[in-house]
């Protein structure tokens, strides 16, 4: 049964890609129906799982033997447990809503069918990523979503910058994938296994050095896929993809795969405290990095992308805090899936009404023209900045709480970063809302903003419901924490000491949020120029340039790499080929001989070969005499 979850969307992708233009008329409907069926099946499996006693909830399925060489045995096997079902529902649920939204959003695109084929391909690959029962199966999904992401970022690759953005995403992801390769190799060399079950069982016997190395490599993989520091630079450019893609892949699902990987590998990280600390630190750095970049972006999608990077930073931070953090990391991942996907769809709706304009300085006062978009976006906004009782309040405050309660300097630094991040988030998100929906209209002459059709706003509305209610539902009676405990907390059961009470933390967090909100309102409520001001501080300029991430990458990797390539091409031509030629010439006795050979007497070459065989026979004859 589990296999069908992946099989249905995969079938859709195959049919639409092989069917070509013949499937143009109904391709989008088929793809949507298949994604919805996958969701329905996921829901059925979820309720069945719910009905089973805790210890029987996880089920697995072996499809076939994939690779079996010596001690290296990998089955194509699937594992559906409490953790993966959360992702299945998120991927297929949000995925289906975005399929529906895209029917309308992409209706004027000549290549809509191809778009839906890629979407289905993505859903299938992402499901494989979370359902694979070993690191190698996960790897297939891991690069599969990378491929889908590449294809979708470059969906309009006739525009060279979009094609470049797609390539950049793929290459940077491959650097992360290298980490995953290393982790699998270490796992096999150390534990003799690559399946989650075997690795979990055998990990306690391994040396700390091996586990730390494996943990760090898994973190490298996570930084690539989840756009975490230092492999974050591709995400902003990835906004070149159509907005539904940004909502699904680059906000709600694919970019959270790193959080999944680390949570799934809890049995490694719980035994490798140094690697675990590295995870938390990367999360803390990225949550601030993304938030700072978010304050300076005028492109609505890039502002949201920076926000995604920052919010995933929170999740990674949570996953780096060990057994107490995993469940909250996943909770934030799920609530984020609702509110961020909702806001991206909202941004798409705004662009739809504004001739694809993305510059928020040319928005303003859209509240009246697009009331539904404004309301759904607003609910997502309240959720992300963490206003009770919206979803983000529950999930983010829990993460801050866990970070602070880690204790000592570590707790103060990580928790402090998370608190400051909350304040900055409030600032940049308020900025987005104020610039877009309130104030004066700064539209271009051609703009005639209008509300989007029902196919678009209904998914937005449903996601908004999630933004409002999901946090409450997940925390009621510790529902999600208890649900995930069998997967993420089998090593430790001790209760964590509370250094700060939840109330104290909420008060501090909300105060910082209030400061952020008020600052942004004060700063952007009045007249806003429709071009970005030039006389800004050096800090603003650096933030606009994504804290110089591209400049650094170019200086450290790209230009030296290009120089090396050019040098090697020259060396190959002159030095290596030249040397071999020289050696060849001297071996042949004289240049005269070579010229003669090259003069085109083809038969003489055959004669040389013949001479070889004859001389061999001759020697044999001599020897045997």
């Amino acid at each position: 049964m589990i296999g069908y979850l992946i099989g249905l969307p995969l079938l859709g992708a195959t049919l639409l890609l092989l069917g070509g233009r013949r499937t143009d008329k109904w391709g989008h409907l088929l793809a949507t129906a298949l994604s919805a069926s996958s969701f329905a099946l996921g829901a059925k499996l979820f309720f069945e799982m719910l009905a089973r006693p805790t210890e029987e909830r996880a089920i697995s399925q072996k499809l076939f033997t994939w690779i079996h060489v010596g001690g290296f045995q990998v089955d194509a096997g699937l594992l559906l447990d409490q953790l993966s079902i959360c992702f299945v529902l998120l991927i297929t649920g949000v995925g289906t809503l975005i399929h529906i939204y895209s029917i309308s959003y992409m209706s004027h695109d000549h290549d809509r069918r191809r778009f839906f084929a890629y979407l289905n391909l993505f859903i299938a690959a992402m499901l494989l990523l979370v359902l694979g029962d070993s690191y190698l199966n996960l790897y297939v999904g891991w690069e599969g979503v990378g491929l889908a992401s590449y294809l979708l970022i470059g969906f309009w690759n006739q525009k060279p910058t979009y094609a470049t953005a797609a390539k950049k995403a793929f290459v940077m992801n491959r650097i992360g994938d290298m980490g995953l390769s290393f982790a699998i190799m270490i796992s096999f060399a150390t534990l003799g296994a690559v399946s989650f079950k075997d690795v979990a069982e055998r990990a306690p016997a391994a040396s700390n050095a091996a586990l730390t190395a494996m943990g760090i490599m898994l973190l490298v993989a996570a930084t690539g896929k989840s756009a975490q520091f230092p492999l974050q630079a591709w995400l902003g450019d990835a906004m070149a993809g159509p907005t539904p893609v940004s909502a699904l892949i680059h906000a709600a699902t694919m970019v959270t795969a790193g959080v999944y990987l680390i949570t799934r590998s809890n049995f490694i990280f719980d035994l490798a405290p140094d690697a675990q600390l590295a995870v938390a630190v990367v999360g803390a750095i990225t949550l601030l990095f993304g938030a700072l970049v978010g304050t300076a972006k005028d492109d609505i999608k890039k502002a949201l992308a920076a926000s995604t990077m920052s919010q995933i930073g929170y999740m990674i931070l949570g996953a780096g805090l060990g057994p107490v953090g995993y469940a909250f990391a996943i909770m934030h991942l799920l609530t984020h899936g609702f509110f961020k996907a909702g806001m991206f769809l909202g941004a798409g709706s705004v662009m739809h009404g504004m001739n694809d304009e993305v510059n928020m300085r040319k928005y303003g006062a859209l509240r009246a023209a697009m009331p539904i978009t404004a309301i759904t976006f607003g609910l997502g906004y309240l959720a992300i900045i963490g206003i009770p009782p919206f979803a983000g309040f529950y999930s983010k405050d829990k993460l801050i709480e866990v970070a602070l309660n880690a204790g000592g300097v570590k707790g103060l630094l990580l928790g402090g970063a998370a608190l400051i991040g909350a304040g900055i988030t409030a600032f940049y998100m308020t900025r987005v809302v104020v610039l877009t929906f309130t104030g004066k209209a700064r539209w271009d002459h051609e703009a005639h903003p209008h509300e989007s059709p029902a196919l678009m706003w209904i998914p937005m509305a449903l996601l908004a419901v999630g933004s409002v209610a999901s946090g409450y539902l997940f925390t009621r009676g510790d529902a999600l924490v208890n649900w995930l405990t069998p997967v993420v907390a089998h090593h430790h059961t001790e209760h964590h000491e509370e250094l700060y009470s939840p109330l104290t933390i909420s008060v501090v967090a909300l105060s910082l949020v209030a400061i952020g909100v008020l600052t942004a309102i004060f700063k952007y409520r009045g007249d806003v120029s429709n071009t970005a001001p030039e006389n800004v501080s050096i800090f603003t300029r650096i933030a606009r340039r994504d804290l110089l991430q591209d400049a650094v990458n170019e200086a450290v990797f790209m230009r030296p790499g290009q120089a090396l390539t050019e040098t090697l091409v020259k060396v190959d031509k002159s030095a290596i080929d030249g040397t071999v030629r020289a050696v060849g010439l001297s071996a042949l006795g004289s240049a005269q001989g070579l010229r003669k050979l090259q003069s085109g007497y083809v038969r003489s070459y055959a004669a040389v070969i013949l001479a070889g065989v004859v001389s061999l026979l001759l020697v044999i004859w001599v020897v045997t005499q």
């Binding site: 690759n157 006739q158 525009k159 470049t164 994938d177 534990l191 060849g584 055959a606 070969i609 045997t624």
Partner: protein, 503 residues
């Protein structure tokens, strides 16, 4: 007799074609196609009878050939040779269909082209099947002749110079191997009777120094053929000048004789010397992987680019062979097969692109995805296979090689893994330049693949996808042979670290 009959079938086809009227190109092509299809079907039937449980040579035949010299005609297959033959005979009809018109503009007739091609096919089968060193040498050297004429007579650009370069390199290696073979032969006479039988030769007693020298004679010949850095410079020139079909056979099959020879001859005949030289060979392999990838990134010509990607891939294969683990070995052999198909796809599609655009410079293309979608997709999938995307065949073999190397030589594997990032660059850069972006002048009216071309590329892509998910049928054939080779060389797989304490 089965093996001999299959091996002779292409030659028979060549004889039939030589009797056909020279003017009737179409009939000649049809006869050539029919022959290659027959050979492929025959080989599949034979493979179905291959017993996976048996470790020794199968379909073994041995007849006295020149009995006074101890030379025998003996052929037989182990799992490694079998899968390589299967790959070769599968590629042959695909090459014929794909390059239906590529002989039309040659220096010589279409008839000659197909005779050369079929003669080459017989030799391809023979070189993998031979179990007598003399017979192997004859095939090894004789193969050069048809390839030489195929490049020199039907290629493009600097075809004559490229053909000569190819020939000189190969001859040089061949001479070294010849010297080693003679020495082996002489020694066999001193130790119980002159023979060229590989089984008997592997039992010879020889001093360490002798073994080292003889090993080098074989190894250099193979390292030229499978090009290993720094002996690779003939390959880009040859691939640039050859017709796409010839390139497919050259890189897909002929170069595999090198890596195959390393397993069959270097490891079997000189196990101690193999161990001695392993550190150097592994370093050369890693250099090939990284160097080939950088050079590929730096190429402006699509055919040279593909040639350099192959140099990188051959580095992986050699590394897998000399890592001396089951995973490395089986991975390397599977890599040979997978590389054959993925390079075939790249060269064939690139060939169609070039023949339409009349240029092999990557910068001359642009925006093909929107003009010729099927051709663009084919190129893209071939590229994804070349960069070893999981789900496609090359991933399985590349990962096996890496993991198999890592258990014994972690640092080599770590450096080699950087190759996967470089691979993303050398594929995605030409993909972006040629397929993406706006459609540039000169590309607006290119035509998409025709039915014949679709028929040629479809099976290759199908194989690439199928072997990505179901490599087991091939691995089951390869594994016993790989394990036998490793055991014979005195190795066993490293145990997982956590179990080392318990032993």
């Amino acid at each position: 007799m089965t093996l001999t009959i299959i091996g002779l079938l292409p030659l028979l086809g060549a004889l039939v074609i030589s009797a056909l009227p020279k003017a009737n190109d179409k009939l000649i092509k049809q006869a050539a196609l029919a022959t290659t299809i027959f050979v492929a079907l025959g080989s599949y039937l034979m493979a179905a009878r291959f017993d996976r449980a048996e470790i020794g040579l199968q379909f073994y035949e041995s007849y006295n050939w020149i009995s006074s010299f101890g030379i025998k005609y003996s052929v037989g297959l182990d799992g490694i040779a079998l899968v390589l033959i299967l790959m070769s005979v599968t590629l042959a009809p695909i090459v014929v269909v794909a390059g239906w018109n590529e002989a039309d503009t040659g220096r010589w007739s279409v008839k000659t082209f197909y005779i050369l091609l079929l003669v080459l096919e017989t030799m391809m089968i023979g070189v993998f099947a031979a179990t007598d060193v003399f017979l192997f040498y004859v095939f090894f050297e004789a193969m050069l002749i048809p390839v030489y004429f195929l490049i020199g007579g039907y290629g493009t650009g600097e075809r004559a110079a490229a053909a000569v370069k190819f020939l000189l390199y190969s001859l040089f290696g061949g001479l070294l191997m010849l010297a080693s073979i003679i020495a082996l032969y002489v020694m066999s006479g001193d130790q119980g009777g002159h023979t060229f039988d590989i089984g008997a030769l592997s039992q010879l007693q020889m001093s360490k120094t002798t073994q080292n020298w003889l090993f080098l004679g074989f190894f250099i010949a193979f390292a030229i053929k499978a090009p290993l850095w720094p002996l690779h410079t003939w390959l880009p020139d040859a691939a640039d000048s050859a017709t796409p079909g010839t390139s497919v056979l050259l890189l897909g099959v002929l170069d595999k004789v090198g890596t195959f020879g390393m397993i069959r001859y270097c490891l079997n005949l000189f196990p101690d010397a193999s161990k001695t030289f392993t550190p150097i060979i592994l370093v050369l392999s890693v250099i090939s992987i990284i160097y080939g990838a950088f050079l590929a990134i730096g190429q402006r010509n699509i055919k040279r680019l593909i040639a350099f990607t192959s140099i990188s891939h051959f580095g992986f294969i050699t590394m897998g062979i000399f890592a001396m683990t089951t995973q490395g070995h089986s991975g390397a052999t599977l890599y040979m097969v997978n590389h054959g198909f993925s390079t075939a796809a790249l060269f064939l599609v690139a060939g169609w692109m070039i023949s339409r655009r009349k240029s092999s410079t990557i910068a001359d293309f642009g925006g093909l995805q929107r003009v010729t979608p099927i051709m663009a997709w084919s190129f893209f999938i071939a590229g994804m296979s070349s960069l070893a995307l999981p789900g496609l065949s090359s991933f399985v073999s590349e990962f096996l090689v890496l993991v198999g190397t890592f258990t014994r030589y972690p640092w080599h594997a770590v450096i080699a893994t950087f190759g996967i990032v470089l691979a993303a660059l050398y594929i995605l850069i030409p993909v972006q330049r040629a397929l993406h972006g706006p459609t540039t002048p000169g590309n607006e009216s290119l035509t998409d693949l025709n039915l014949r071309e679709k028929i040629a590329i479809a099976p290759v892509i199908a194989i690439i996808v199928a072997l990505g998910f179901f490599p087991s049928p091939l691995l089951n054939i390869i594994n016993p042979a790989a394990q036998a080779t490793i055991q014979a060389a005195g190795f066993s797989d490293p145990v997982a670290k956590i179990e080392q304490g318990n032993n």
